[in-house]
Amino acid sequence: MSKGVLIFAYNNADIDYAKISLFAAKRVKKYLNVPVSLVTDSKEWLLKSQPDAEHVFDKIITEYSDTTQKRKFQDGSLASKILTWKNFTRCQSYDLTPYDETLVMDSDYILCSNLLSKIWDNKINFLIYPGIGVDLALWRKNDGFEFLNQYSIPFFWATVFYFKKSLEVDSFFSILKMVRENWDYFRSLYNIDTPLFRNDYSFSIALNLMGRHFFGSLPGKMKFTLDRDLLVEIKDEHLKFLIEKENYAGEYTAAKTSNLDIHVMNKYSLIRCIDGLGL
């Protein structure tokens, strides 16, 4: 059975996801030692701006995403921009992956350990991180990461998930596509207050429809920092952050992680670190 990682990268006017995904792919090779494929609408740009991408990625798959939805991207607690957010193609992971067993990862999920290297040949065909997780900010209350809302179903992270090609996983992705195509209906049904299509929400809904015995949990917990925090240094498996302070916008406390895979939501600071610029 072939095994590999699939990363999605859709650039917008300001954020070079292709660059982030190349960085993520190099870390996948280092910590998981499996081939990595990329799904993008900017293959030409990627190969032009990052020539080594051709050797790093196993396959570069072109898939266009026709969305105009926009959302706010923070860079720390004081700066932000409204930008296009192309996230529609995640539901096609099953059709797009060249592997029998696939680990799908956001490009901003920064691997610092080999925790996920042993999930292959799993007894369960679909693994995902349940909500809550570990926020690097001690004080933040993340109720929205536990349930879709206080009257609704449990939340799951579409940031990273594993699947093995099988009949039931195929059905799950078919349901996922139906949720995406009928997003307005499903967001009303599940009391979701944002019109934005979010993969975490659509995955949570589809998992709820498939039932609890369809999937299992990935090992460990999802660890994350919001885009209101800043990543300031990446040194091998050590990451340094400035975490926003409670009630003091623009003030931060320092935090350092070692050997922990972290979902870094502040793409601006991630790109600065990749470019070696730090703060």
Binding site: L138, A255, S258
Partner: protein, 115 residues
């Protein structure tokens, strides 16, 4: 700002960073305590170790255990399994102790995040 107050704020900042670093070290420990075998994951804890040791003491060569996703897994050799999980436990605990002592010895925010 009053010098005493400034020092108090510095201490408060240090305490927040200290709590956070201790929590992150505990998360690292939790991650290190995961043991994989036969496509299943087990969180190694004292309960699992004691249970497997009890089975061995009662002359059970093999057993069925529930993994972290509640999937039954046949453990064909309890002794080998115990050796493996004890190794995971000891190695993880040693790393955690080392880190915990190091964190405890640091008295400034800058030092805490350079460990």
């Amino acid at each position: 700002m009053d010098e005493r107050l400034e020092k108090a704020f510095q201490t408060a900042n240090y305490m927040i960073t200290l709590s956070n670093q201790r929590r992150l070290a505990a998360e690292e420990l939790a991650q290190n305590l995961i043991y994989y075998t036969q496509g299943s994951s087990f969180t190694v804890n004292r309960e699992l170790i004691s249970f497997v040791k009890t089975l061995i003491d009662l002359n059970h060569k093999s057993t069925i255990l529930l993994d972290d996703n509640n999937i039954p897994v046949e453990i064909k050799n309890c002794k080998d399994f115990l050796t493996a999980i004890l190794e995971v436990y000891n190695e993880s605990m040693n790393t955690y102790l080392k880190k915990y002592v190091e964190i405890k010895s640091k008295r400034r925010v800058g030092d805490l995040v350079s460990i």
